[in-house]
């Protein structure tokens, strides 16, 4: 077996595990992206989850068997990627079927909406100065490049020496936009008490993620840019390539494990008594499309809403600001990429 075969089999196993835990990540009264009663989740819902997981693991087992077969017969074929894709298709279909079954038990949305009259903190986690950090890092790297760019056999590289830094600056700006809109344009569902505190903490950690991704991007790009200069080529070594990647992985694992522990909206870490007044996620079931993957509701002023498949937040595709962000991100990367490379 080649290392590629082992890797693809690992991907199949990871996919199966992710699909296995997916139903557990939602709020306690949301199952397969449908708002149901907690009694249903504890009763009939368990059987639904069991059937879904059985299909997921049978699909994964079949994919692994096909992977083994292909690695023995066609070790260098591109067909080896087929079991990975097939596994995702089977698991997604199982999710969709379970979603349709759960819809029959959906709880009708409440006609009454309640909100707290106590203002909550909607500032950027860490403050504006902390958020400006990645730009300061990039600026420092740009100064170094500017100072030493002539120190080499042929001077600087023929391409733009600031290219990676410019790209990183765009990435940081996008990450900050995501963070700002996430804290400022998402809905608080729990009104008060421990449930509201847990939800607010969850939101702020989610908004902190893009800020820190901006830091990691700025550090990595700055290090790569400086290391690629002739003046520093022999002093920094491979550490500049691996250290940011390692930090990125550790950070991702840390956040993912915390989010997995507290569940969507931080609500699984709250006692059932404390979230007595919290029902669903204040979004109508009918606005969730493709088995709960996408939220499209033009009548909802929220730009970000809690994901129903997985953890964290997703954009409300019925909100024009969400589209502005998406199109802005694409355009910014296209324009900068064209200018840089």
């Amino acid at each position: 077996m080649t290392s590629a075969s082992w890797f693809l089999m690992l991907v199949v196993a990871v996919h199966a595990f992710v699909f296995h835990v997916l139903p557990r990540l939602s709020r306690p009264d949301i199952l397969f992206a449908v708002t149901v009663s907690e009694a249903f989740v504890a009763g009939e819902g368990r059987r639904l989850v069991f059937r879904y997981r059985t299909i997921v693991w049978i699909g994964a087992a079949a994919a692994l068997a096909i992977s083994l077969l292909l690695s023995a017969t066609r070790p260098d074929s591109v067909w080896q990627a087929l079991p990975v894709a097939g596994n995702v298709v089977v698991a997604s279909t199982a999710w969709y079927l379970a979603h349709r079954k759960a819809r029959a038990h959906a709880v009708p949305p409440s006609d009454v909406r309640v909100a707290s009259l106590v203002p909550r903190d909607s500032s950027l986690p860490g403050g504006a100065l902390f958020a400006a950090g990645p730009f300061a890092i990039l600026l420092a790297a740009a100064l170094v490049v500017y100072t030493y760019r002539g120190d080499g056999p042929d001077g600087a590289d023929a391409s733009n020496p600031f290219g990676l830094l410019e790209l990183a600056a765009v990435q940081v700006a996008i990450m900050l936009t995501i963070a700002v809109t996430m804290v400022g344009r998402s809905r608080q569902i729990a009104v008060d008490g421990p449930a509201a505190a847990a939800e607010q903490r969850f939101r702020r950690v989610n908004a902190l993620v893009p800020v820190l991704v901006g830091y990691l991007g700025a550090i990595a790009m700055s290090a790569m840019t400086v290391a690629s200069m002739p003046a520093f080529a022999n002093t920094l070594g491979g550490v500049v390539w691996y250290l940011p990647q390692l930090a990125f992985m550790l950070f991702g694992l840390g956040v993912a494990s915390w989010m997995f522990r507290v569940g969507q909206g931080g609500q699984r870490a709250v006692s059932p008594a404390a979230r007595r007044d919290v029902h669903g996620d204040a979004t109508p079931d009918h606005a969730w499309r493709v088995g709960g993957m996408y939220y499209v509701n033009a009548n909802d002023p929220a730009m970000w809403v809690e994901n129903r498949v997985g953890l964290g937040y997703t954009l409300n595709l019925g909100n024009w600001r969400a589209w502005l962000l998406i199109v802005g991100m694409i355009l910014a990367f296209m324009v900068v990429s064209r200018l840089v490379f």
């Binding site: 006609d111 909406r113 309640v114 909100a115 106590v118 203002p119 909550r120």
Partner: protein
């Protein structure tokens, strides 16, 4: 249980959303659960939490600012201010409110409440008790 003040909105109510929000806020203000110096959430935040257009909340805040309860703060919502004694009685407004009260009283009578029960309920409400 006296938790943090809340505002609620019934989507099925014939009362316009901005009126419902203003009514809830006014009740908290009259019953002094919101006191001078207290800050209210920014318009955007309350609108997002209630799932209504920003203008709906802005209208409710504006209504209470006109009544002298709130001072509107740019981008920071509104602050409760010390309200001076009501200005000169607005006769037309009082007549309008009393007329509305008359309609409600008639509805309560037709729903089976006696006039004594209506008086007692009204007295309780005037004292600041919940309906």
């Amino acid at each position: 249980m006296a938790g943090a003040p809340r505002v609620s909105l019934n989507l099925e109510s014939p009362t316009p959303a901005y009126r419902q929000i203003a009514n809830d806020l006014r009740r908290h203000l009259v019953e002094e659960r919101l006191k001078p110096g207290d800050l209210l959430p920014p318009i955007r935040q309350l609108a997002l939490d209630l799932g209504v257009h920003f203008n709906t909340v802005a209208l409710a805040y504006r209504l209470l600012a006109d009544e002298g309860w709130l001072e509107l703060k740019r981008r920071r919502g509104a602050a409760v201010i010390a309200r001076e004694a009501p200005r000169a009685v607005d006769r037309r407004k009082l007549d309008h409110l009393l007329k509305q009260l008359g309609h409600v009283a008639a509805e309560l009578r037709s729903a089976g409440m006696s006039s004594r029960q209506i008086s007692a309920a009204l007295h309780r409400l005037a004292q600041g008790a919940k309906p």
